[in-house]
Amino acid sequence: MAILPIESEKTARIRMTLNGEETDVSFAPYKTLLEVLREDLGHTGTKHGCELGECGACAVLVNEKPVLACLVLALECDRKNVATVEGLAADGNLHPLQEAFADLGAAQCGYCTPGILVTAKALLDQTGHPSRDQIREALSGNLCRCTGYLQIFEAVEAAMMKISEQPERPARNSAAMGPPALR
C-alpha cells in the first residue's frame, strides 16, 4: 500500500480565544483540537482516554458548549471561544466547582476531572439549579473509574449552592470564560 509521508508541517493557522486570551496558533492541518491544545499550546490540563469520543476525558468548552476535543479538528475552532480547565480559576481563586471537587473527594486520580469540571461548568452556566437527575444526565458522557460518581454529584451541588449565594461572579472570571467580545 502506498504510504504518504505526513510531516507535521504547520500549514494551518487559526486565531481563537483560549481561556479569555486571543491566541494564534499554527499546526499541522490534520490535528484535533485536543492535540493542538496539548502539543502546540502546552495546555496539558485536558486529558485523553480513547481519542475516539468514548470516555469524555477530553471535554472542553467551545463557545460555552461542552465538546469532545478529540473529535473536533482544531481548524474548526477558528474565531471560536475555547475554555479548558486551565481557565476555570480566576484572580488566583479556584472556581467554586474546583473548590468543591477538591474538598469533597470528587477527584481521586484526577484524570477525568478536567473534562468533568468544564462539563459541569457548562451545566451550571446554562441551567443554574440543575436537579440531581440533570447532573447525572449532563455528566453521563464523562466516565470516571475511581469515584463511583456520587462525590462528583455532591460537589457539583455544593458548587451550585455556593454560586447562588454569591450571584456576583468576579468580573475577570466571567470574561475569561465568556465570549471574546467581552475582552
Binding site: E7, S8, F101, T147
Partner: protein, 838 residues
C-alpha cells in the same frame, strides 16, 4: 484499645477510638494533591513533553498464536523520519513480575501468544510517522493452533504456549488440605455442592499507559511511567537492559487510575528505555485504548466448585473448593492469583477443615493478572451465593446465619492466617439495620428483592514478590530551618490518596498541618523503596514507616526543646505548629524554633522509618500468599429491581458497612468504598472481557470481542445507585493510628449481593458473573419449565490434581507446616536470592 466482644452474639458498643487528641487523623480534609488535580496541573506521564523527543509505536501480532519466521525492518528503517526499529533480538532477556514466571520478552523473539503481543517497535520524529512505518515492517508468521479456554487447555497439551509450567498448557496446579475435609463432610447434616463461573473483566483506567525515557546528561537512564510498582519496574529494567539498578531512575508519575492494571513491568516501558539509551534522546510512548485492552492483566475468568458441609444450625464443618483459572498468554501475577482464589475463604467465617485445589492454564488471550481484589472476588462470589442457598435450605435468615459463623478477632485460621480485629459482625448488624433488611427480605413484591453478602481483604501482602529480608516500605523525613517537613517515600499515588496518608500521619505526629508538608513519592532516586501500590498495602506499610520516621524526628525536637524550656521531655506536646509544656502551656515555642534548636544540637535533622510485616505462622509451601498484618471486613445489602418480562436489572440502592479500623481521612475512605461499589456493580452487571473466533475460512483466530470503551460496557453516571456507607471504626493495633485497608475489600460483596438480590426478586439463581438480562430470561424459562431455576455452569472438568499438601489446622495441633511436604528444592536461601537478583 476497644475490641469487639463476641462477634457471634454480643452487641457491640460503637467502639469509637479515643481520638479527642487527634487534629488531622479522622477529620474530613481536602487531600494534599487535590488542588493540582482540579486545576489540571497534575503531571501524568503523557503530559511530559521534552525537547528532541521522539515517539514510539509498537507493531503487534494480528495472530493469537504463531511462530515468527522472519522479520524484515528495512523498509520501515528507510521511511523518512524513522530513527530506529527494534525487534526481539534487541531485547532478548526474559522478565516478568514474579521470579517463578519470567516468561515475557519486551518484543517477541520467535513466538507470539495473543493478538496484541508486540513484535517490533518503531521510533520516529513524529508519532504519526512511527505509526505509518509499522505498515512497512514485514513479518512472516507460521500460524499455530490456539487455545481459547481452560477446558481446551486441559485437553490440548500441545503445542505448548510456554515451555515451562506444571504440564502441557497447565501453568500451575496447587492442592492444599487443612484438616481432613472428608471427615468434616461426615460430620455435616447437609452437604451443598455448587459450581459457579466468574467472567473476566478489565481495569479500564481512563489514563492510557504512557512512558517517557531519557538518557540523562550523565549517561544514565531515567524513565517516567504510569506504573503502580516503580520498584519492580526498576528491577525488570536492570535485568533486561543489563544495567546496574543504581544507574536507573524510575519515576512513577501519578497514575490516572490503576486498579491493578499498571502493576506489571510492561514491554512498552522496556522498549522506550532501550530506545532512549540508543538514540540519546527522549522517547515517549502512549498506548492507544485498544492497546490498553491488550495489556490487560485483569480479572481471571474462574470456574469454581464449592462443596460445603454444614450442621443444621449453620455451623460449617468443612469446605472443599476447586478453581479452574483462565490465565491468558503469560504468567504475570498468575501463580499468586491461583493461590489467592483459595487463600482468603477462611478469613470471614469459621471453617474447621478446608481443602483447596486450584489450576491455572495458559490460553491465547491477553494475560490476566491482578485486578482490584486480586483472585479473591471470584471465590467470594461463589461462597456468598452458596451461603445464601444454605440459609434458605436451613430456614435461616442469611444475616443470622452469617452472624452465627463469623470468625473471631485475633484468630489463626485453618490455613494459618493470623487475623487482627474482625469487625464483620458489626458490619452485618449495621447494614441489616440501615437497609431495613428485616422488613424487606422475602417480603418485597415480585420483581424487587434484597441480597446480602460479606467479605474480607488483605491490608497488604505479608510477603514481598521476591524473597528478601528488607523492609516493605521506607520513609525518609527532612526537617528544615524554615519549619518545613519533607517526606520521601517510594509509595505510588494512583488516585487512592497515598500522598495524603503520608502527609496526614506525619502532620499528626509532629503537630503541624498537611499544608506544611511536602511529599515526594514514586521516585527510585529520591525515596526509599516502597514495594508498590498493590494488595492494599500502602496505608498500613508506608503509613507505619512514616510514623516511625516522624516519631524519631519528634524525639530529637523534644530533647532540644526540653532543655531550652527546662521541662521534662514527656510533658511536651506538639500541636498547632507549636511545642509546649502540657502542664504550663505558656512555656512554648513555634515548631520552626524547635527545628532550629534541634538542628543546632544534633546537626541536620533527617530521620528514617521502615516497616516490615510480622512473620506469618503459615510455613507450608504456598503459605506465602494470604498472610497480611490484618484484614478489612465488609458487609453489603443491595436492592434490585428485575423486570420479569425483559430480565432487565436495575440497582436502586446499596447499603454497605466497612470495617476500616480507623478512617484517616473519611472523605477519601468514603470515596474508596463508593468507587468499589461502582466497580463491583460493573462486574456484577455488565463488564466482561470477551473473545470470539473468526470464522474458519477467515483464519479462525481468537480475537478480542470489543477492545473499545464504547463496547466494553461500564457504568455511567446514569447507572450509579444511591449508596449508604457506614464505617466501622475499631482501631487495629497493626495499622497506622489503627487504620486498615479500604481500596479493595468493599468491592468483594457487591457481585454476590446482587446475585442474592436477584434470587429474592424473581426466584432464579444466576451462578455466574456478569448477571445479564439474557441469563435471567434463560433461568426464568427453566423455572417455568419446572427445571432448576438457575443459570450457570453445571460441571467442573476433570483435573489431575497433585497430592494435597496436608497441613493440620491449629486446633488439630498443627504448627503451620505440611506433614507430607517433600523436601524443598535443595537451594539455600542465599542461592535463591542470587537467582532472583536482576
Amino acid at each position: 484499645m476497644p475490641t469487639e466482644k463476641d462477634s457471634r452474639t454480643g452487641t457491640l458498643k460503637d467502639a469509637k477510638p479515643d481520638d479527642h487528641d487527634l487534629r488531622v487523623i479522622g477529620a474530613p480534609r481536602r487531600r494534599v494533591d487535590a488542588r493540582a488535580k482540579v486545576t489540571g496541573q497534575t503531571r501524568f506521564a503523557d503530559d511530559i513533553f521534552l525537547p528532541r523527543m521522539a515517539y514510539c509505536k509498537l507493531l503487534r501480532s494480528p495472530h493469537p498464536h504463531a511462530r515468527i519466521r522472519s522479520i524484515d525492518t528495512s523498509r520501515a528503517l528507510a521511511h523518512p523520519g524513522v530513527y530506529l526499529v527494534l525487534t526481539g533480538k534487541d531485547l532478548p532477556i526474559e522478565y516478568g513480575i514474579l521470579p517463578v514466571s519470567q516468561d515475557e520478552q519486551a518484543l517477541c523473539l520467535d513466538h507470539v501468544r495473543h493478538v496484541g503481543d508486540p513484535v517490533a517497535a518503531v521510533i520516529a520524529r513524529e508519532e504519526l510517522t512511527a505509526f505509518e512505518a509499522l505498515d512497512l515492517i514485514d513479518v512472516e508468521y507460521e500460524i499455530l493452533p490456539t487455545i481459547s479456554d481452560p477446558e481446551e487447555a486441559l485437553a490440548t497439551p500441545k503445542p505448548r504456549i510456554h515451555e515451562y509450567g506444571d504440564e502441557g498448557n497447565i501453568h500451575k496446579r496447587v492442592s492444599l488440605e487443612f484438616g481432613d475435609v472428608e471427615q468434616g463432610f461426615a460430620e455435616a447434616d447437609e452437604i451443598f455442592e455448587d459450581t459457579f463461573f466468574y467472567q473476566g473483566s478489565t481495569h479500564l483506567p481512563i489514563e492510557q499507559h504512557a512512558s517517557v525515557a531519557i538518557k540523562d546528561p550523565e549517561g544514565k537512564l531515567t524513565i517516567w511511567s504510569s506504573t503502580q510498582t516503580p520498584h519492580y519496574l526498576h528491577r525488570a529494567l536492570a535485568k533486561v537492559l543489563e544495567m546496574p539498578p543504581a544507574h536507573i531512575r524510575v519515576i512513577a508519575t501519578p497514575n490516572g487510575g490503576g486498579f491493578g492494571g499498571k502493576s506489571d513491568p510492561f514491554n512498552h516501558e522496556i522498549v522506550v528505555a532501550k530506545a532512549a539509551l540508543i538514540l540519546d534522546r527522549p522517547v515517549k510512548i502512549c498506548l492507544t485504548r485498544e492497546e490498553v485492552f491488550y495489556c490487560h492483566r485483569g480479572r481471571h475468568p474462574v470456574l469454581m466448585k464449592f462443596r460445603t458441609g454444614v450442621k443444621k444450625d449453620g455451623t460449617i464443618t468443612g469446605v472443599h473448593l476447586q478453581t479452574l483459572i483462565d490465565g491468558g498468554a503469560y504468567g504475570s501475577y498468575g501463580v499468586a492469583s491461583t493461590f489467592y482464589t483459595g487463600a482468603l475463604q477462611t478469613t470471614t467465617y469459621h471453617i474447621p477443615r478446608y481443602k483447596f485445589q486450584g489450576c491455572r492454564t495458559f490460553t491465547n488471550k491477553p494475560p490476566c493478572g491482578p485486578k482490584r481484589g486480586h483472585g479473591t472476588p471470584q471465590p467470594r462470589f461463589g461462597q456468598e451465593v452458596q451461603l445464601d442457598k444454605i440459609a434458605e435450605k436451613l430456614h435461616l435468615d442469611p444475616a443470622e446465619l452469617r452472624l452465627r459463623i463469623v470468625e473471631s478477632s485475633n484468630t489463626v485460621t485453618a490455613n494459618f492466617l493470623r487475623l487482627g480485629t474482625v469487625g464483620l459482625g458489626e458490619c452485618i448488624r449495621r447494614v441489616v439495620r440501615i437497609s431495613g433488611w428485616d422488613q424487606k427480605f422475602r417480603k418485597l413484591p415480585e420483581g424487587r428483592g434484597v441480597g446480602l453478602a460479606c467479605s474480607a481483604y488483605l491490608t497488604g501482602a505479608g510477603l514481598p514478590i521476591y524473597w528478601n529480608k528488607m523492609p516493605h516500605s521506607g520513609v525518609q523525613l527532612k526537617l528544615d530551618r524554615g519549619g518545613g517537613v519533607t517526606v520521601f517515600c517510594g509509595a505510588t499515588e494512583i488516585g487512592q490518596g497515598s500522598d495524603d496518608v503520608l502527609a496526614a500521619v506525619v502532620a499528626e505526629v509532629l503537630g503541624v498541618t498537611t499544608y506544611d508538608i511536602r511529599v515526594y513519592t514514586g521516585d527510585t532516586d529520591l525515596g526509599p523503596v516502597d514495594l508498590g501500590s498493590y494488595s492494599s498495602r500502602v496505608t498500613l506499610m508506608a503509613g507505619n514507616a512514616a510514623i516511625q520516621a516522624a516519631q524519631r524526628a519528634k524525639a530529637m525536637l523534644a530533647e532540644a526543646v526540653a532543655a531550652r524550656l527546662e521541662v521534662p521531655k514527656d510533658r511536651l506536646r506538639f500541636t498547632d505548629n507549636r511545642v509546649f509544656d502540657e502542664a504550663s502551656p505558656e512555656k512554648s515555642m513555634s515548631f520552626q524554633e524547635a527545628v532550629c534548636l534541634a538542628e543546632a544540637q544534633f546537626g541536620t535533622i533527617g530521620t528514617v522509618g521502615s516497616y516490615t510485616p510480622p512473620k506469618s505462622p503459615a510455613q507450608y509451601k504456598g503459605g506465602g500468599v494470604g498472610p497480611s498484618p490484618t484484614y478489612s471486613y465488609t458487609a453489603a445489602v443491595i436492592e434490585v429491581e428485575v423486570n420479569p418480562a425483559t430480565g432487565w436489572i436495575t440497582v436502586p440502592k446499596v447499603w454497605i458497612a466497612h470495617d476500616i479500623g480507623r478512617a484517616l481521612n473519611p472523605v477519601l475512605v468514603r470515596g474508596q468504598v463508593e468507587g468499589s461499589v461502582y466497580m463491583g456493580l460493573g462486574e456484577a452487571l455488565m463488564e466482561e472481557q470477551e473473545f470470539r473466533r473468526l470464522p474458519k475460512n477467515r483464519s479462525h483466530a481468537l480475537v478480542h470481542k470489543f477492545p473499545s470503551i464504547l463496547e466494553y460496557k461500564s457504568p455511567t453516571a446514569l447507572d450509579m445507585p444511591e449508596v449508604f456507607t457506614e464505617l466501622v471504626e475499631q482501631p487495629d493495633p497493626q495499622g497506622p493510628f489503627g487504620a486498615k485497608e479500604v481500596g479493595q475489600g468493599p468491592l468483594l460483596p457487591i457481585m454476590p449481593a446482587v446475585a442474592n438480590a436477584v434470587y429474592d426478586a424473581v426466584g432464579v439463581r444466576i451462578d455466574e458473573v456478569p448477571i445479564t438480562p439474557e441469563k435471567i430470561m434463560k433461568a426464568l424459562a427453566e423455572k417455568r419449565a419446572g427445571r432448576a431455576p438457575r443459570f450457570g455452569p453445571s460441571q467442573f472438568p476433570h483435573v489431575d490434581w497433585p497430592e494435597a499438601l496436608r497441613v493440620p489446622p491449629p486446633w488439630e495441633g498443627g504448627d503451620g507446616n505440611a506433614v507430607n511436604e517433600p523436601p524443598r528444592a535443595a537451594k539455600t536461601r542465599a542461592e535463591r536470592e542470587k537467582v532472583l537478583r536482576p
